[in-house]
């Protein structure tokens, strides 16, 4: 038996490192362990894949547009400050 083999990570440990995987940081060794786990664990694979896609969807959606009226009132207020002070 190969004694240098690193132990497999549990789902709980893998989940704790979800952000490491999604944000593509962490050591190469850790990434390898995570990839090894999700290669055989379908549930973790789905969680990792969908979380990664969600982060992209959230960023691309550019949520919370500033309402026009809110923006207009900001400029009106600033006008008094910029011209008055």
């Amino acid at each position: 038996m190969n004694t240098t083999t690193t132990r497999m990570m549990s789902c709980k440990e893998v989940l704790a490192n979800l952000s490491t995987y999604v944000d593509e940081d962490g050591s190469a060794e850790l990434r390898h362990l995570l990839e090894e786990h999700i290669a055989w664990c379908r549930r973790c694979q789905v969680v990792f894949d969908t979380t990664g896609r969600m982060v992209k969807i959230v960023r691309d959606a550019e949520p919370f547009e500033i309402p026009l009226a809110v923006s207009a009132r900001l400029y009106a207020r600033l006008e008094t400050v910029l011209s008055g002070d």
Binding site: L15, L18, V22, V46, D49, V58, F64, V70, L74, V81
Partner: protein, 225 residues
């Protein structure tokens, strides 16, 4: 620093220097460039548009009056976002909210994922861009505030973990743990809309398996009688 951000950062710096040299009108382009970010950050912390609007106005007035304190050591965006988070947090405190329930039980609960179905390949095709945005906004708004503000700073505004932690006045480790939880909660909420519709075949197989199991139980009971 991300090399892509050097350009806009330098433009900010040029406007700042012109305002400081006496050209007050150059503050307006700075506002135009950053109003969306300041609004989003204030909304994330405060949770409603009215308070976010008040906070945003205060943020830009403070930034204008204290512009000479911007040393250019960090990016202007980071400096302004820090002011925005501070202002919004102060406003939240002034509303005399007691410690939110979610904050007090923060440490002991980590929701395990409960949904394990893959997501549809292209949600934009299924829903259209506007609808996806609305789904995302509703799901973020439904998060408890400490998770909402963390997720917005990291995943919407793209701040680093260190920048976001500093702006919120918490340790990087705490920020990371909040982000993980925020993402898992958001994934659960969005999952109901984003999961692939299960093909009829799978449903039939699942029903058949359930039926067979039920039969087994009934047969076993009948045999034991």
């Amino acid at each position: 620093m991300n090399p892509d951000e050097i350009g806009p950062g330098e433009e900010d710096l040029a406007f700042v220097q012109r305002v400081l040299a006496g050209d007050r009108r150059c503050f307006e382009p700075l506002v135009r460039r950053h109003e969306r970010r300041v609004f989003r950050v204030a909304l994330a912390v405060l949770g409603n548009i009215e308070d976010a609007e008040d906070a945003m106005q205060e943020v830009f007035i403070k930034a204008f009056r204290h512009l000479d304190q911007f040393r250019g050591e960090s990016r202007f965006t980071t400096w302004l976002t820090r002011i925005a988070v501070n202002e919004a947090l102060q406003k939240r405190q002034a509303r005399k909210e007691s410690v939110p329930l979610d904050e007090s039980r923060e440490a002991d609960e980590r929701p395990l994922p409960r949904r394990f179905e893959p997501w549809t390949a292209n949600p934009e095709q299924l829903y259209g861009q506007q609808e996806v945005r609305q789904l995302v906004e509703a799901a973020i708004q439904a998060l408890p505030s400490i998770y909402r503000e963390t997720l917005v700073l990291r995943d919407v505004e793209g701040m680093s973990a260190e920048e976001a932690a500093e702006a919120l006045g918490i340790k990087v480790e705490a920020l990371k743990s909040r982000l993980l939880r925020a993402r898992l909660m958001l994934r659960e909420t969005l999952g109901s809309a984003m999961e692939e519709p299960r093909p009829l075949g799978t449903k039939i197989v699942h029903s058949a398996v359930r039926m067979r199991n039920m039969m087994k139980v009934m047969l076993a009971r009948a045999a034991g009688r």
